[in-house]
Symmetry: C2
Subunit: 349 residues, 2 copies
């Protein structure tokens, strides 16, 4: 019998962050693709678009006028999935299959810059530092509201990720409950902390820094890695080298280093297929429920859909929906490809 | 304070099948959509396509020639994600973050019919009965292989669901481990059975048949419902009215009734936006590990991506990936829309 070769043989990997497995089929990356191709947007964007509801000075759908903002700009989402209004709730019948509870929250939009045409990799580091400061302020302000126990900061980039406006922006959904994925992560971090007295992601990062196979880029304070258990072809995670539970605990050095690694990682992403690389990214950090949460570790996920070119994405469908996430290219191979890419944006060359 | 109104207020619903929550934002269904539109395929297909590698008599990429099949036809996937070869595996180091294990399995493709142009709703009931018999045979044959403990039957329909060939076909991935979603379902079913001595889905179905709000179509043996905890806008689940753990336990009456409900449900789907409605569907049933599994209940999931038209889908991105699944239209509203649609296919009118 052949000995298990993780680079060649179909296998499953375990994700200790959410206690789930992923199926890896390295040999399958040679499969030809005859299916749907994504539209590739190659049109250059203007610095200001009079039709864009996120550009400075323009009027949004609800009639409000954006200020003449110069850095980042935050406003309440005009079509929020959550509402602030408190709702009177008597509870569910014991054992009922129809178990529901009202959920209170606030959704905000964060414009990253007044420039309509610049995404993270093309912004300068100062501009990204400004965004991080904005995230810190929002985490603090929203987290201070008594009924807000979780602040989800995220970005959908690219039309293939459901983003309806190319103007660089992210969102924040703050709410009373811990969302499903966060609860799972917290359960794993907590169980690990209770057992070992240390932080799961800090311990994991130490191992990754030893073997180096999955490191994409690092600096004094952060590392961007393709997790051993990544499900998306070019999924990455940025973790701080110091045990930090939330973004407001960053030193100013860490803020600057985080800005630099964000710029480098997203530049490599754009360079991979020489396209404005689509992804959903999001920050996972301590809940704002007033507890200490030493089990938590600040980290940021990037889930990009593209598989082999600007137009061919990975479909998480059928087997993935019914069974489990599946990937073809190995995390080690993806990390190597990203690591070897230039840190200078292809448009700047 | 206003009293909680499940039809109007943002809320979370609990899914007891996989122990997860979904965020529901009923008011948000009015949001205008300016984002990506899916290509709608309106080209009529020929009954036979000389270029199609699934049509009868044609040659596949590996050089094999399809037989001149008359009903359904099964072959091994030429680009299988799983391999049958046994692999020698020594195990993982205790406590290692790099936890992986080889996975053995078999992937097959099931062509539903020699007709290149017919999907389930347009096939006649006899043709669908033939597919069900094929699924039964595959579940038996694959399940009988000693190292196969789970047989996942599924279909990806439509290019938006990663399907690269419109010729009607599904897939079967059979493997040694229980995939993540199946393991979660089994854990919930088992816990419920141990506590109550009854089947979770049977008990749930009884409640749904009482209130009727989420029933789309039913007959003597099956009901198709939009689950109370559905995440996709028009997600449905077909459940048998009798406690059946696996497809091979169907009586011939049940096979016929299952064929009829499959045809009616998928016809309603096509009629919703007058398009060949894309979805991933899949059957969840007892594992083939040789145990009795009285906790299991045969059911079939349909996860369709479309939201408001043939070209506007729901994006499960950012918040959904980092936080939890989110839906706008309520399951009750979706069920009502589907229920009120004709059972005659729009092309037949
Ligand atoms: O096997 P196919 O049809 O080539 O591929 C399709 O279905 C598979 C199983 O759901 C997925 O892993 C692929 O991403 C998808 O494109
Ligand atoms: O809020 P937006 O940008 O209009 O909408 C986008 O992001 C949301 C949060 O991830 C998703 O719920 C939507 O499906 C997506 O289209």
């Amino acid at each position: 019998m052949r000995k298990f070769d993780i680079n060649e043989d179909p296998h499953r990997r375990y994700n200790p962050l959410i206690n789930e497995w992923v199926l890896v089929s390295p040999h399958r990356s040679k499969r030809p693709w005859q299916g749907q191709k994504e539209a590739v947007n190659t049109v250059g964007l203007p610095q200001y678009d009079p039709e864009c509801y996120l550009c400075a000075g323009n009027v949004r759908m609800n009639g409000e006028k954006n200020p003449d903002y110069k850095e980042s700009f935050v406003f309440e989402n005009d079509f929020a999935a959550l509402k602030q209004e408190p709702i009177d709730f008597v509870g569910n019948e014991e054992g009922s299959f129809f178990k529901a509870q009202p959920e209170r929250g606030i959704s905000r939009v964060v414009c990253f810059s007044p420039r309509h045409d610049l995404t993270l990799p093309e912004m300068d580091v100062d501009g990204i530092v400004n965004i991080i400061h904005t995230w810190q302020k929002e985490y603090t302000d929203l987290g201070a509201i008594d009924y807000i126990n979780h602040v989800q900061i995220f970005e959908n980039k690219g039309s293939v990720m459901g983003c309806s406006n190319p103007h660089p922006h992210g969102q924040i959904w703050a709410q009373s409950s811990l969302p499903t994925q966060v609860q799972k992560t917290q359960d794993s971090l907590k169980a690990y902390f209770d057992k070992n007295g240390t932080n799961l992601l800090q311990d994991y990062l130490k191992e990754e820094l030893k073997v180096k196979d999955r490191i994409v880029v690092e600096n004094d304070h952060f590392a961007a890695i393709v997790p051993f258990w990544a499900i998306w072809p070019f999924e990455t995670m940025i973790v701080s080298k110091r045990h930090i539970t939330k973004i407001t605990d960053f030193t100013e050095d860490e803020v600057a280093a985080f800005a630099v690694i964000l710029k480098k990682l997203t530049t490599k992403y754009d360079n991979l297929f020489e396209t404005s690389f689509p992804y959903s990214s999001g920050i996972h950090q301590a809940p704002t429920d007033g507890e200490a949460h030493p089990e938590w570790q600040f980290h940021m996920h990037f889930y990009p859909p593209l598989l082999r070119s600007a137009s061919v994405k990975k479909f998480m469908v059928g087997y993935e929906m019914m069974g489990e996430s599946q990937r073809d290219i190995t995390p080690e191979k993806s990390a190597e490809m990203l690591r070897n890419l230039s840190e200078v944006h292809y448009k700047q060359k």
